[in-house]
């Protein structure tokens, strides 16, 4: 197994909110460890307030971590000093945004972002070479014919096409890892699959790794090799996709899976009593942040923050009550509500 591409340890990010005098601290991300291998697609699943978007921005160096470190390709990226090093990292780890309607500058043609990316990061290319390169990445994301598509303005493209432009911009950097922050949530359902397929295709053809950030665990299952589940700024569960989805260990993961509407499942409401109230991340107390909603919560859960424990190779859970499987069953254990 080759060296992992990116290793983040103890990643923490706090924000100060409220006034200068009576400010409070918002714990957006607390103590997250994250490893992404080469050519791997890792999904980071969580709801709003889970901190997943903050993690994306920490990795893209939009925010500086309050604590923790990130090592990319063997180098610590919070120690980048020169502009050249920063540019280099920006081209290795670009960010794809959620909103196709605000992620492209409406005043220019869609070629603008791609060409600027190429110009900044590969200044040795001539104008003609830049154009050829721009056409190549547009073709790679399925925007064809590339010459004609490059000349369009954003308002002439559909949401799905604009997201492809976002991926084209990321590809123009010749990246090693693309951080995609909810790239399909704002797209129509039938368009989403196209983008998800694009991601797996790019991984297969170019070996690009992906950190796919989403609130939709079903789409995470569709593309990802490994799944990380976040809740209230904490990483609560981690493991291979099928393992996490079929044998969830953390009560929150189980809740998420039970709440996903699956049209192919037979009629019958899964027992989801939870009202979906968000976690407390402003000045949070010690203890598990899921405890207020957890059916298994005990006194220790409310006072002691659970650490991540290993329940097997690559399998981590942050819960006082999680048990490893004894003599694990092979293949699928049916989930609540799934066809037998």
């Amino acid at each position: 197994m080759s060296e992992p591409l990116l290793v983040a340890t103890g990643l923490t990010r706090h924000f100060r909110i409220g006034g200068v005098l009576s400010g409070k601290t918002l714990h957006a991300v607390d103590d997250v460890d994250l490893t992404i291998g080469r050519g791997e697609i890792v999904a980071l699943v969580g709801e709003s307030g889970s901190g997943k978007s903050t993690v994306a921005r920490l990795l893209a160096r939009v925010y500086r971590p309050t604590r923790g470190r990130i090592v990319f390709d063997g180098k610590r990226i919070d120690r980048l000093r020169t502009r050249r090093e920063r540019l280099r990292y920006a081209s290795d780890v670009p960010l794809v945004f959620q909103d196709p309607f605000s992620s492209i500058n409406p005043a220019y043609r869609v070629s603008h972002g791609v060409k600027r990316a190429i110009k900044l990061h590969r200044p040795e290319l001539s104008r003609v070479e830049r154009r050829v390169e721009a056409e190549r990445v547009f073709e790679a994301v399925g925007l064809v014919p590339p010459a004609a598509m490059l000349r369009k303005f954003p308002h002439q493209l559909s949401g799905g096409q604009r997201q492809r432009v976002g991926f084209a911009q990321a590809l123009a950097f010749r990246p090693k890892l693309i951080v995609a922050d909810e790239p399909v949530s704002m797209l129509d359902v039938s368009i989403r699959i196209g983008i998800l397929n694009l991601m797996t295709e790019l991984r297969a053809s170019r070996g690009v790794s992906f950190l796919y950030i989403t609130h939709d665990i079903a789409s995470a299952r569709y593309v990802a090799d490994r799944v990380l589940v976040m809740y209230g700024g904490h990483l609560v569960e981690e493991g291979a996709t099928e393992d996490v989805l079929h044998r969830p260990k953390h009560p929150y993961t189980k809740l998420l899976l039970a709440a996903v509407p699956d049209p192919r499942a037979p009629l019958g409401l899964a027992d989801v009593e939870d009202a979906g109230e968000p976690p407390r991340v402003v000045e949070p107390h010690e203890g598990c942040r899921f405890a207020p909603r957890c059916p298994l919560a005990t006194e220790v859960c409310r006072t002691v923050t659970p650490l991540r424990r290993s329940l097997g190779p690559g399998r981590l859970v942050a819960c006082h009550h999680a048990e490893p499987d004894v003599g694990e069953q092979p293949s699928e254990q049916p989930l609540v509500g799934s066809p037998a």
Binding site: L95, N105, A140, S158, G166
Partner: protein, 310 residues
């Protein structure tokens, strides 16, 4: 190996011309201009004044300063608006005076808009302390009553020349535009494409000039027109009160001299009224043009083609 091709959407075609110029011509701005009657009138008026300012020698019948005619004449075929108390042709004066008024309008408009853009956009984009400082300065200037201040300033320099006027008006007239631009930039600050630009490594200055400003062109133009309007009116007002250079030739100074000679009472009505009419017309031109840009920046105001029942 490429991803499967995505079918082209059935959408109206992109502008066909290869150059950006043609894209601009077919852009919303010009189209809004042409479809909007008010703006069209404004554009034609402005065009008329520009022509007058460019070719006064060819268009004015006489030398504006030549005191060779009988003073106090009324309208006639040789003197469309009569003569002044000094025997000068009013029409020629009006035509030659256009130059100064237009120059003031564009110079102050340009200066005020430039300052407004720099202050407003930077304040919003930089945020924090810089924003606080710039906003406070903007608010102070906004609140200062211009006229009394200019009178005080002009009193220090007797007979403020053209240059002084431009500087003073420009230095005081940017605050309204700055507020607008700041508000607009604030609303855009969290747009993903700006974050995308920063993430790909663009410098801050680049982002402000090349990513933010191009999306605000209509607001900037509207700001310019507003500043130009303010400049025309205020400059005329100052000159009328006698704070301009009375020996220069402009509509404002015409008003000053007419007032000095009690033109209205003495029956030289046109001399007293026409410079004011010109000021009003030029101001109206800018105001009318502003309508077109209102619509460009706010598509909700655009006229839409209604559907027929049936």
């Amino acid at each position: 190996m490429t991803a499967p091709a995505v079918a082209e959407p059935l959408r109206p075609a992109a502008p066909a011309g290869p150059s950006r110029a043609r894209a601009v011509l077919r852009s919303g701005a010009v189209r809004a201009l042409l479809h909007n009657r008010k703006a069209l009138v404004g554009a034609l008026l402005l065009l008329g004044f520009v022509v007058l300012a460019l070719f006064p020698g060819q268009l004015a019948p006489d030398d504006p300063n030549a005191e060779i005619f009988r003073p106090g004449l009324g309208a006639s075929s040789s003197h469309w608006f009569g003569t002044t108390a000094y025997g000068q042709d009013v029409l020629s004066q009006l035509i030659w005076g256009t130059r100064q008024s237009l120059l003031i309008a564009f110079a102050v408009g340009g200066l005020a808009t430039a300052i407004a853009v720099i202050v407003g956009v930077s304040a919003a984009y930089l945020g924090g302390f810089a924003d606080g400082l710039l906003s406070t300065i903007t608010d102070v200037i906004l609140v200062i009553p211009i006229f009394p201040l200019v009178i005080v300033l002009a009193a220090y320099e007797k007979n403020a020349g053209f240059f002084t006027l431009v500087v003073v008006l420009g230095a005081l007239g940017w605050s309204y535009g700055a507020r607008q631009l700041r508000a607009q930039t604030l609303s855009m600050r969290n747009r993903d494409f700006l974050e995308a630009a920063r993430v790909r490594g663009e410098r801050r200055l680049y982002v402000i000039v090349f990513e933010i400003l191009p999306t605000m062109t209509s607001l900037i133009v509207a700001s310019f027109l507003g500043a130009a309007l303010y400049a025309v009116l205020t400059a005329a007002g100052l000159q009328f009160v006698g704070l301009g250079d009375p020996n220069s030739l402009s509509w404002g100074t015409m008003l000053y001299w007419a007032q000095n000679n009690e033109a209205l009472g003495a029956g030289m009505v046109l001399w007293a009224v026409m410079p004011g009419v010109c000021v009003a017309l030029l101001g109206a031109a800018f105001a009318l043009l502003n309508y077109a840009f209102d619509e460009v920046s706010n598509p909700a105001l655009r006229k839409v083609r209604r559907v027929q029942r049936g």
